[in-house]
Symmetry: C2
Subunit: 205 residues, 2 copies
């Protein structure tokens, strides 16, 4: 791509480093900003710099937070003995949106994935194990994505804590709401039959 | 979407103002930046601010340029009497990539589109007409996209300059290289038969 301006080229190259944004899209975005009031670009640049410089992670659960301890961890109405283990802060947001979970979270910051060079030491696993060892946790809920990496991560953590007095559960896997049964893959469908629940229980949710 | 951090929310909202980027994608992009070295975010923010603040348009053809007159317009080897009229600077880049055009450009900055509230006065049409009136132009090539708005813009400009001594042409429309004939729409196919060229001429390109 030949640029008529070095400034434009620099901006496009920086923008194209974002995941899923190629050079053509980057050019479209930068040209869009050039057509908008200058204040929009300044606002974008400032808020990105600010979030990167001042970002803070909750020292207990590693969720993104503006305070040292996040609002969930510091909320006295939440059940501190129940911890939901998630991969990413987006998963915290997704579960919070359901308004069904009243415990705390522990954000691992990824999942074990040897192919991407991510091992247990790159994740916040040790601090989770320490929480369990200290005896303050009664139940862990694994809420990783149902992929090979997610299962590996779950199993790795389970091995570290299985000798301690803590209940370990994993979120239910089954047919998603609104899905057609005939298009559900066989692993999911098989599991949903194996892990069937009493009909009366299902009426309550 | 519930955010655990105001800084994060601000950055996501700013990012989501870009065209084609929704809140979820914006969150993914911002979280990606947070995982990268701080220098990447600083580089992105600075280059965006810089291009927006210092951007300059060629005073002759309105292409983006770091100088007052762009490199194409100031190149003595280009044919100043031949002007290709395009909608956007991306079109200049696309045509330059073909290395077939040796004239100059005139970037209108859009096309006449009443539905979007864009009239002739919002585009760089008057300065193009002035160039023609001054007698310095021998041929204009319309290279707008073949849409209703593009055709309208072409026709509007043509009406302004038809009394002056200037040749006006438009880029050829026809079946694109590599396209299957049976999937070509009937307007394009009809035009390609109507505007057929001698076979010997086609061998030269």
């Amino acid at each position: 791509m030949q640029f008529s301006s070095k400034l434009l080229e620099d901006a496009v190259n920086e923008m194209a480093q974002l995941p899923g944004i190629g050079k053509r899209t980057a050019l479209r975005l930068v040209l869009h900003l050039l057509r908008q009031p200058e204040q929009q670009t300044i606002g974008l640049a400032q808020s990105l710099s600010k979030v990167r410089a001042e970002i803070n992670f909750c020292q207990s659960c590693y969720n993104i937070s503006d305070k040292k301890v996040c609002e969930i961890c510091s909320n006295p109405n939440r059940i501190g003995e129940l911890i939901c283990v998630v991969e990413d802060i987006r998963d915290v947001m997704a579960i919070e949106n359901t308004s069904t979970f009243k415990g705390l979270y522990h954000v691992l910051g990824g999942k074990i994935s040897p192919i991407d060079g991510i091992g247990p030491q790159d994740l916040k696993i040790q601090s989770l194990v320490n929480k369990v060892k200290s005896g303050e946790v009664k139940e862990l809920i694994f809420a990783m994505s149902p992929t090979m990496e997610g299962d590996t991560t779950n199993f790795y953590i389970f091995r570290q804590i299985q000798d301690y007095d803590v209940a370990v559960s994993t979120i239910a896997r089954g047919v998603a709401a609104g899905n057609e049964l005939e298009y559900t893959d066989e692993i999911t469908l098989g599991r949903s039959i194996q892990d069937r629940i009493p009909f009366e229980t299902s009426l309550k949710s």
